[in-house]
């Protein structure tokens, strides 16, 4: 077959272009650290990468949101424990009054303290975090209880569904927490009055009502604690999930630098060989021999 210099040159130029292009792409991969430079290089991997990327971002976002949101149930938990302490002190006061050995002055002091405790419980119930009431249900901008202990919030729990299985409460219904089993503010008000007038007969029933209310508060606290633990477990799960997703995404989109470096070297050798062949082969005609 006749191989005129024009055909030879075309072949050589094509070979140089192919090798240069391959080298250029490898250089681009090394430079950017990315395996996929354009969607058309691997459409399936790109579609998969977009899914992982979205899942990773959501998982990291959920983790961050969980971190911020857990502050609400944690604050409520602390407040409820404080509430239990207040109730325990109220219980002690009632027990002291019940043994019937106190003077009317001492009883008046107990009544004063009882009123103080009621105010303390009201303060706890009306606590706000970040400008939002913790015990007003979904009416987060409303003060849950007025001075008289009347509930003004919502009975609906404000909650965030961190996952299809975990819903974190952001604000509980104050009516359910503090007045669910017994109206604790009412009980304390009655106790204060009974102490003030020295009505010892009312005390046993008030004591048992206080006990029931306290037991309810403890139950709520226990449930809240369980929800917090659930949230923490979810947070750990999300961190783990993010690591797994990061790994999967990395396999799809990140360049393996060692592999690319070797590929680069091989392609560089191929290009050099082509250039050398071009330089050596093209000038070989009878013209030089004749000269």
């Amino acid at each position: 077959m006749r191989v005129p210099p024009l055909a030879l040159a075309r072949q050589m130029v094509h070979a140089i272009a192919v090798n240069t292009d391959a080298l250029n792409r490898t250089t681009e991969r090394i430079g950017t650290g990315r395996r996929l430079l354009r969607p058309s290089e691997d459409p399936t991997s790109v579609a998969q990468a977009l899914r992982w990327q979205n899942a990773l971002a959501l998982s990291q976002g959920d983790g961050r949101r969980l971190e911020q949101t857990l502050a609400f149930p944690e604050a409520m938990d602390t407040l409820l424990l404080q509430g239990v302490e207040v109730l325990q002190r109220a219980r002690e006061l009632l027990l002291m009054a019940q043994n019937g050995t106190l003077s009317s002055e001492q009883q008046a002091t107990l009544a004063e303290e009882m009123e103080g405790l009621r105010q303390e419980l009201l303060r706890i119930a009306n606590t706000r975090l970040g400008g939002r009431s913790l015990f007003a249900g979904t009416q987060v901008f409303t003060q849950p209880f007025d001075e008289g202990g009347a509930y003004q919030g919502s009975d609906e729990v404000a909650q965030w569904e961190a996952s299809p299985f975990v819903a974190l409460p952001l604000a509980l219904s104050g009516r359910w927490v503090f007045q669910g089993e017994e109206d604790l503010f009412g009980v304390m008000e009655e106790a204060q009055q009974a102490l003030r007038i020295g009505d010892a007969s009312a005390l046993p029933s008030l004591l048992s009502r206080l006990d029931r209310g306290m037991a309810h508060l403890l139950k709520v606290e226990a449930r809240l604690g369980a929800q917090i633990r659930q949230g923490e477990r979810l947070r750990e799960g999300l961190t783990q999930e993010a690591t797994t997703l990061q790994g999967r995404l990395s396999v799809l989109v990140d360049a393996d630098l060692a592999e690319e470096a070797i590929a680069w070297r091989l392609k560089e050798v191929a290009l050099q060989a082509t250039l050398l062949a071009t330089v050596r082969l093209l000038p070989h005609t009878l013209v030089e021999v004749m000269a």
Binding site: V3, A57, G61
Partner: protein
């Protein structure tokens, strides 16, 4: 044979080999000309003039150049035209689709998929803290960002559609120029044939012009006895003899393109080639991508709006759409920009409720959902680019191989030319030597007289 005839024979040889040397020089000069076909001086023994003069014995009278021909394969040339048209078709498709792909930029930070996730993240942030003004302001920013990204991609597609029309206009102009030039070459070649000369360079130039036409549309070339060619496209004459026809570009609605013959207004069947690719791009690929993106975006925005209008803002407002249509595009409801508290995150109207925001946030994971819709769109673009690139590369390989075969037949080999140079030079020297010998014979005779 008389000495005078011998003298003439030597002279014939000198002239013929001089002509052959000229052809070799022409070949050598065009060794790097890709459209050139090697020319060959065909030498033929010159017979003794008939009827034989008295005493003549019918011996030859030397050599003459019977023809200066081209080394040319018409079948290969036709194959090259077809394959050139196919390569041009797929290359045009590929270049345009690759430009579209450059605007997609997936997967990367700051891409549309990224903005879409960020948009849903912002809704989730609002869901986790419905009363947080900061989260609401961020949501509005992210929504605006998403719309801007989608709009940039839409503009990119629109720009490509405009580019296709512009390219079609230029290609039609070039096609008309080529058709006119073929007609002109037809005239020159017919005149040269009539004058019994060899218009080899004209034939090469016309072949190159025909290849140029074939790159733009599918043609059939019919050689005529007078040396001209009849150029047809799907049964319609484009060039007959020295008469070219003109092609015109018609723009139909929605960016579709149509090519017609200027004189009759008949639509032209362009087949493969650049014009076919541009027509297909305008009618199918680009229109399909633009509509796909439009449908996806509208679906997403309407889904968000449907949920949002059901919800309540912090101050109790309801029934507000999150996105509103403005002319051809969409924007975030200006009422929400003015009062972010009107973003309807709540399902019940209670400010601590974030169920609507959570429902919109959950769209991010829904299957089939907005992300899947967008991923499928990217997949369609990427798949099309990949398939086009593969076909284009395969056809380019075929074309290269055909070009090499053409060069193997028609290309100039300097080695061959150098050998010919030596051959003809030697023949020329030999003829000169014969001339010298006859001259000596004549001198001998003259000295004796």
């Amino acid at each position: 044979m008389s000495l005078m005839v011998a003298l003439r024979t030597a002279l014939q040889s000198l002239l013929s080999h001089q002509a052959a040397l000229m052809v070799t020089a022409h070949n050598t000069a065009n060794a790097q000309n890709p459209t050139y076909s090697r020319q060959v001086a065909r030498l033929q023994a010159a017979p003794f003039p008939w009827p034989l003069p008295e005493g003549g014995d019918g011996e030859g009278t030397g050599v003459r150049v019977a023809e200066i021909g081209r080394q040319h394969d018409a079948l290969l040339e036709a194959l090259l035209r077809t394959s050139g048209g196919q390569v041009a078709y797929w290359k045009t498709l590929r270049e345009s689709l690759e430009r579209v792909e450059e605007g997609v930029q997936e997967p990367s930070a700051g891409s549309l998929a990224d903005s879409l996730t960020a948009f849903f993240q912002a809704w989730r942030d609002v869901a986790s803290e419905p009363g947080n003004e900061g989260a609401r302001a961020t949501l509005l920013e992210q929504a605006q960002g998403l719309l801007e990204q989608a709009s940039a991609l839409r503009k990119h597609l629109l720009q490509e559609q405009r580019l296709v029309v512009l390219q079609a206009e230029q290609e039609v102009e070039e096609l008309n120029r080529l058709l006119a030039q073929v007609a002109q070459k037809n005239g020159e070649i017919a005149a040269a044939r009539a004058a019994e000369s060899w218009p080899n360079d004209g034939l090469d130039a016309r072949d190159a012009l025909l290849r140029g036409i074939a790159e733009r549309l599918s043609i059939q070339v019919h050689p005529q006895p007078n040396g001209t060619v009849l150029v047809m496209a799907a049964g319609q004459e484009l060039v007959a003899g020295t008469r070219p026809r003109t092609v015109r570009l018609l723009r139909e609605g929605e960016g579709a393109l149509q090519f017609v013959l200027e004189d009759t207004g008949e639509p032209l069947q362009v087949g493969e080639g650049r014009l076919g690719a541009l027509m297909d791009l305008a009618r199918e690929a680009l229109a399909e991508f633009a509509q796909g993106l439009e449908r996806w975006l509208e679906g997403l925005l309407r889904t968000v709006n449907a949920l949002h209008t059901r919800g309540y803002g912090l101050e109790g407002s309801t029934g507000l759409p999150f996105f509103v249509q403005e002319g051809q595009g969409w924007r975030v409801n200006p009422e929400l920009w003015a009062q972010p508290e009107r973003i309807a995150a709540s399902e019940t109207g209670a400010p601590g409720d974030g169920h609507i925001a959570a429902a919109i946030g959950r769209l991010a994971e829904e299957e089939p959902g907005p992300l899947q819709g967008y991923t499928a769109w990217v997949g369609r673009v990427a798949g099309r680019v990949r398939a086009t690139r593969t076909t284009s590369e395969a056809l380019e390989e075929v074309h290269r191989s055909l070009s090499n075969r053409r060069d193997a037949v028609s290309g100039v080999s300097l080695d061959e030319e150098m050998v010919d140079l030596m051959r003809f030079q030697q023949a020329y020297n030999a003829a000169a030597r014969v001339l010298q010998a006859v001259d000596q014979l004549l001198s001998t005779l003259l000295q004796r007289l």
